[in-house]
Structures are given as C-alpha cells and as structure tokens.
Amino acid sequence: MTTSVPRPKADAEPTAVRAVLSMLWADKFATVAVIFLAVVLFCAIFGPWLLDAVATKQNLRGRNAPPFDFTRGWLFWLGGDALGRPLLARIVVAAQNTMMVAAGAVAASMVIGSALGLIAGYSRGRASQIIPRLADVIMSFPSLLLAVIVLYMLEPSVTNIILVLAITRIPVYLRTTRAEVLEVRERMFVQAARVMGASDTRIIFRHILPIVMPTLLTIATLDFAFVMLAESSLSFLGIGIQAPEITWGLMVSQGRPYMTNAWWLSFWPGLAIVLTTLSLNLLSNWLRVALDPTQRWRLEMGARKNG
C-alpha cells in the first residue's frame, strides 16, 4: 500500500518551480527586476573580493575622468572620482555595505517585529495590550528623525546603523503580523486544529505563519527599498557610514561638491540606488499579485498568452 501511492513531492516540486517561473515571465518588468537584483547580489557578495584593490587605488591622472571614455579600460566607462578611482569599481564594491546594512536591518526588524506581532495577535493576555503600544511609541516619530538623533549621540558604525534602522522598522512588521494573526486566528481551519487538540506552537507555526508569510515577504521586499533609501540619506547627511568605508549614499554625498563640473560622481551611484529600489518595488508588486490567490489569475492568464 505504501509503495503503490506515488510520493507527493517527487512530481509536485518541479511543476511548482516552473509555475512560479512562468508567472514571473508573465510580468516582464518583474523578470528584469529579478535579473538586475541577482546582479546586484553578486556584486555585493563577490564585488569587494574581486575589485577592492582597483577601487581604492588612487590615480591622479584619472581625476574626475568623464564617463564613456573607452580608452581607459572598462573600469572607467562610468568615469573616475575626485581621486581618480574608477567609479564602476567603486559602485560594485559599495554594493556590499549598502546591501549589508539594508539586509541586516530588514532581517532584524522582520524577525523581531513579526515575533512580537505573533505574540500580540495570538495571546489574549496582557502582552496583547502592551506590545501594540510599543509600536505606537516608535511610530509616533518619523524613522529618519529617530535615526538622526540616535546616530548623533552614538557612534555611526555599521552595527549601530543597522540597529537604529531595524528599530524604526519594527512597527511595520509588528502591526501587519498582529492584524493578520487576529484575523487568521478566527478562521475555521485554526478552530478545526484546536478541536483536534493541536498545541499553540503547532497552530502558530503550521497554520497561522504560513498564511501570514506571503504578506510579510511582500512587505520585506518593499521595506528593503525603504531602508536602503534611509541608509543612503543618512550617509548623504554625513551621519551614516563614514569614509573610508563606502556606500552608494556616501558616494553621492562625496560627489556633491563637484556637481557643477563632474555630474557623474553623484549621478551613477544615485542611479544604482534608483534601479535597485525600483527593482525591489517591481518585485514586491509582482509578489503581491502572485501570492494572492484571488489576483493570481492576472499572471497566469499572461503566462498562458505568452506561451
């Protein structure tokens, strides 16, 4: 009997992956966004290892070298900075810090925020009263303001920046998770599990979290973009990551004095920020549709039409 029935995973998984890919293909913007994000991720992981030496090597002959001058080699295609360092290489290397801060802050705020949200939404005790107030307290001040104040008084190190940004973003996950849990908790399949005698842990991790997860992922994608912009703003204002470390925001800031005669110093790193956040926004939009069973048909229809 056990052998006569085919195992579920064997044929289910490849089709699932293919279904996701075909839904992605149905939204061409999202496809491009995913490819671009993969490139950025590659730069963030391997960039410093490959190009660190080139990116920090000063070259006075290449000071403020204009872009699209193809005689200097591909590293200078986007021009050179005020110390003659190739901008392209610097952007690739800076991807790491930029991504690391954003990823760290998003991961930390998502884990802490959704854990608190789960507790606040699921428990009927005092925690469900107090935890949302915590979110209110944090939310009553705009995140950039809070970050500015804290970083003014603390050392603007990578850890502190991640910490500050994470704290300011916790309420987003906390509120969403709580609201969703409050709703999912009352759904009939959760009641059905309780009738069977399922423990709270099982109900939370097997029945509630899988339903809430898509929403959280969508928000996290969007929030990644938000945190990146916040980090860039902090760096730009000079209270974020400090030289000689680099991030894209810091590069824009460093190029600002030269904006009248060498616009490319600020333009390219800024464009990198725009394209990355744009890709994240596109991906998040796609996720919102793809993960919503009532909206998914839009993508599935598209996939059918295209092939």
Binding site: F141, V150, A225, S233, L280
Partner: protein, 304 residues
Amino acid sequence: MRKFLGKRAVASAVSLLLLIVMVFFLSRLTGDPTQLYLPVDASLEAREKFRELHGLNDPLMVQFGRYVVDLAQLDFGDSIRKARPALDVVLEAFKWTLALALITMALVTVAAIVVGSLAAFRVGGLFDRVATFFSLIGASAPDFWIAIVAIVLFSVNLGWLPTSGTGTIWHWILPISVLFIRPFGLILQVVRGAMITALSSAYVKTARAKGVRPRPVIFVHALRNGMLPVITVIGDQAAGMLNGAVVVETIFGFPGVGKLMIDSILQRDFAVVLAAIMVTAIAIFLMNILIDIAYAVLDPRIRY
C-alpha cells in the same frame, strides 16, 4: 470621540516622555556631554566651566530632575550659535517647514488621488501602466539624488531656477518639486490599490445597476471608501515632511526645521536639537489627531 482623543493624547504623551528620557540618558551616558553642547575645539577650561555652570557634575538623577523641570516650562536653554532662546529659533524655522509641507502635501494629495483613481478605473490600460510605472520610479528615487540632478539640470545647465535660498517664488519650485515625487509615487500606489478594491465591490455594482454615471461611480461611490487606507499613508508622509524634509532643505539651503536640526547637530547646538525634537513631535501628534478625525468623518462605521 472625546474619550478617544483623550486616550490618543495620553499615548502620545507617553511616547514623548519616553523620547525625552531616551535623549537625556543617551546624551549623558555616552561619553562627555560637553561634547554635545560645545564646539569640537572648545578648550578644557571652557568645558569645565560649562560643566560647572550647567550642573553637569551633579548626580545623574538631580540632572534629570532639572532637565524635566526645564522642559516642562518649555525652557530648552539658549542656542549657542544664535545666542537666543532655542525655542524661538526653532519656531521661526518651523514656519518655513510648515508652509513647505502644506503646499507640497496638498499638491501630492490631489494629484495622487485623481491619477490613482483614473488608473484604477481601467486596470491594465495604457494610462494605468504609464501612471504605475512612473509612480514606481518616483517612489524608488532618493530625494537627495533627484535634488542634485535637478540642480545640475535646471539651475546649472539651463539656468532657469535658483539653486538655494527663499527670496522669490522661483526659490520654492525646486524644493516642492523634489519633495513631491516620492510621496506622490507612494500615495498613488495606495490610491490605485484601494480604488481597484473599491471599484470591484458589490456596492459599485449596485450603483451601476441604479444607472449612475462612471464619473460619480468613481469619485462619489468608490473614492470615499477607497480613501480610508489612503489617509493613513498621507498621514505618514506628512509626518515625514513636518519633521523637516532634512535632505531637501539642506541641499536647497531652505531655512526649515530639518536644515536647522542638521546644522545644530553638526555644530553641537544641543539646546536647539532638543527644542526641534519637541516641536516636531507635538506637530506630528496634532496631525495624527487630524488624521483620526478625517477617518471618522469619512467612515460612519468608525465611532471612537
């Protein structure tokens, strides 16, 4: 309603208190507080004198008590740079920020609602796709970068608009335009989503069965329902601007509270920083109440 506002006030007061406590302890416990209050190059004697004058050698709790009493009397101390009460300096700057925020948010709200509603009416149509794409770009672009690009383009290359200051109406155009872009993109996205939901709802079907024309269907039947989630986002964005559009004000040399705060931080004018925090926090609190009232006005189901 009154009970709700009371609750709201208490909650905000608690947040404000927590912030006050946090600022105090962070300022006293992380290194030498005179570094916060005095210029970086102040001499040792000057520091010691300052310490003596402001009781920084007293026990921590005594200092905290004094700090709270001063704050309760809205006495933030004098601005070191301007040599006059910090609160006056902040209020003066706040006027500029308030004007900038009001004008920008009014423009953003109207534009985002009109464009978002029309985009939602024909989902997937040409107008929708163009609007969605540009709103996404708008929501993705860092304001400091747009500001720089705009200055290079319109001020440096074309010479149409001044780069900084506040003298004429022309000075307002760039800051408002740059500030406009991101909230416009974000709010438009929310309006579009909310309107898609509202337009596919059952009551819109009823309206169509009654013979209501498309325009009132969108702007009377659907919009008021669709506005509910939008209001929250408008509130968040307005809060961001009230705290001083730090980046934009800095770049365009606009004398608002954001620029004031950054300048004061960089020049160690702590009294002004403190006053600015309080003033913006109170402004944001008032605005949140306005948002709550707007909610109750729009949706009769909400009774606080």
